[in-house]
């Protein structure tokens, strides 16, 4: 295990590369999910077609 | 021409125009895009010897010698047609070695030798386990693939 982590002396470079890969993929996934959740949540609170009070009233002039 | 065809033509024209101008610019500035010059180009006087430039090639087999008790290294960079002796003081990258590609930045002396300020290793596109490399070495002792 120790030998595996040492990566033949390249530990800093190899683990930096793999660490940044995890960060980039995780942040991407988190951002994509969050945006979808937020958009759905926002639309749910604003769009309430069953409530007639929220409908713009049409007036004849 | 329908508006759709007009838009198509506009995109095509802009892309073609930029492609042509980029191609022209790249050809015109070809020297500035070259990262390094080969020993043959240096011998032919194509390298900008008045200022610093990068010399690239292969470290000749058996040419590396280190000065006792210092970080100074001397080696010969070759492209198998011409060779240039290089001297360098400092740390070398892991892949530096005889028979390996190298890019050295520095100045050409009047005697045709090269003083490097920075030495970078250039590796090739081949990847293989050590056993395969040994087997290849046995099959082709000269090292050429």
């Amino acid at each position: 295990m120790k030998e595996f982590l040492a990566m033949g002396g390249y530990a800093v470079y190899v683990w930096a590369a793999y660490g940044m890969t995890v960060v980039v993929i995780a942040l991407n996934a988190w951002a994509a999910q969050r945006r979808l959740r937020r958009t759905l949540g926002e639309l749910k609170t604003t769009a309430q077609p069953e409530d007639p009070a929220r409908r713009p009233t049409v007036r004849k002039v | 021409m329908t508006p759709r065809r007009q838009r198509m033509a506009l995109i095509a024209a802009v892309v073609a125009g930029v492609a042509v101008s980029v191609a022209l610019a790249l050809v015109a500035f070809r020297e500035n895009v070259l990262l390094f010059f080969s020993p043959t180009e240096v011998v032919a006087g194509e390298a900008p010897t008045e200022r610093g430039f990068r010399l690239g090639g292969m470290v000749a087999e058996g040419s590396v010698s280190r000065e006792e008790g210092s970080l100074t290294v001397e080696f010969v960079v070759t492209d198998f047609a011409n060779s240039i002796p290089v001297s360098y003081t400092g740390l070398l990258p892991d892949l530096f070695g005889e028979g390996q590609g190298v890019v050295a930045r520095g100045q050409l002396n009047t005697d045709g030798s090269f003083d490097a300020e920075e030495v970078l290793a250039k590796h090739d596109e081949n990847y293989m386990p050590p056993e395969v490399a040994e087997a290849l070495e046995r099959a082709h002792p000269e090292g050429s693939p």
């Binding site: 470079y13 590369a17 069953e50 | 590796h123 293989m128």
Partner: protein, 250 residues
């Protein structure tokens, strides 16, 4: 019923939204499995390189991220051009979703390349190296596209102006790929896309191919999820979105 039906379906926001909703979980699961398998293959199963030792294992994250960075640009530019020419809003939405994902993978390619370059070449970065600089230009093209698109108050206008930038930037794609052949660079030549076959042994190549597949699945999942949000955002005033968020009633 014409043979263009699929094309019209793919330009229909509700159809694409539901398609993404159905596909995304499967693609996401497949991506996680492939990422795990590829990482295990690359870090554990693959033998060390004869010259670079264990340090060469960076290839398993560097090459896939560089590939996604380039592939995403082609996707983004084609989508933007389709949107510009045929006035398809959905195509502009695809381009808008692809840009941040492509930019992040291009950044990853530059980062992993730098930490590979330091021990192997002896430097993190070389100005004047055609491969390195053209890859940096790719990152700036993504950032420019995002910035340009967001600098217009009207979304339609931003979409169209940014589409021209995206299409023009396509010129950079072959420059990146062939930079290692056309000019002398520190970067080595192509390992896999060669006429005489890949110059890498099979046991090293297999994890790399798995990783490229895994990154592609990951990219597809990210685009589908972002596209869903983008579609909802752009179609917020339509009836089908209202029905969707209120649970199908009315």
């Amino acid at each position: 019923m014409s043979r263009w039906r699929w094309f019209h379906l793919l330009a229909s926001p509700p159809y694409v939204y539901r398609l993404a909703e159905r596909l995304a979980p499967w693609i996401g699961a497949a991506s996680v499995l492939a990422l795990a398998a590829g990482t295990y293959g690359g870090l554990v199963l693959a033998p060390p390189d004869y010259l670079q030792g264990e340090g060469f294992r960076i290839i398993y994250v560097h090459v896939p991220s560089a590939y996604i960075g380039l592939m995403a640009y082609v996707v983004m530019a084609s989508a933007a051009a389709c949107g510009f020419i045929w006035r398809i809003k959905l195509a502009h939405a695809v381009a808008a979703c692809t840009a941040p994902v492509g930019a992040s993978f291009t950044f990853l390619a530059l980062f992993t390349g730098a930490v590979w370059g330091k021990p192997m070449w002896g430097t993190y970065w070389q100005w004047g190296d055609a491969r390195l600089v053209s890859e940096l230009v790719l990152l700036f093209l993504y950032l420019g596209f995002m910035l340009l698109r967001s600098s217009f108050d009207e979304r339609d206008k931003g979409d169209r102006v940014a589409a021209i930038l995206a299409a023009v930037g396509v010129v950079n794609v072959p420059i990146i790929h062939y930079s290692v052949e056309w000019w002398s660079t520190l970067h080595q030549g192509a390992t896999m896309m060669r006429l005489d076959g890949p110059s890498i042994t099979l046991e090293m190549l297999i994890p790399l191919l798995i990783m490229i597949g895994a990154f592609t699945l990951c990219f597809a999942w990210l685009i589908l999820r972002r596209l869903q949000a983008e579609i909802l955002d752009r179609e917020r005033r339509t009836r089908w979105v209202e029905q969707l968020v209120t649970g199908g009633a009315s």
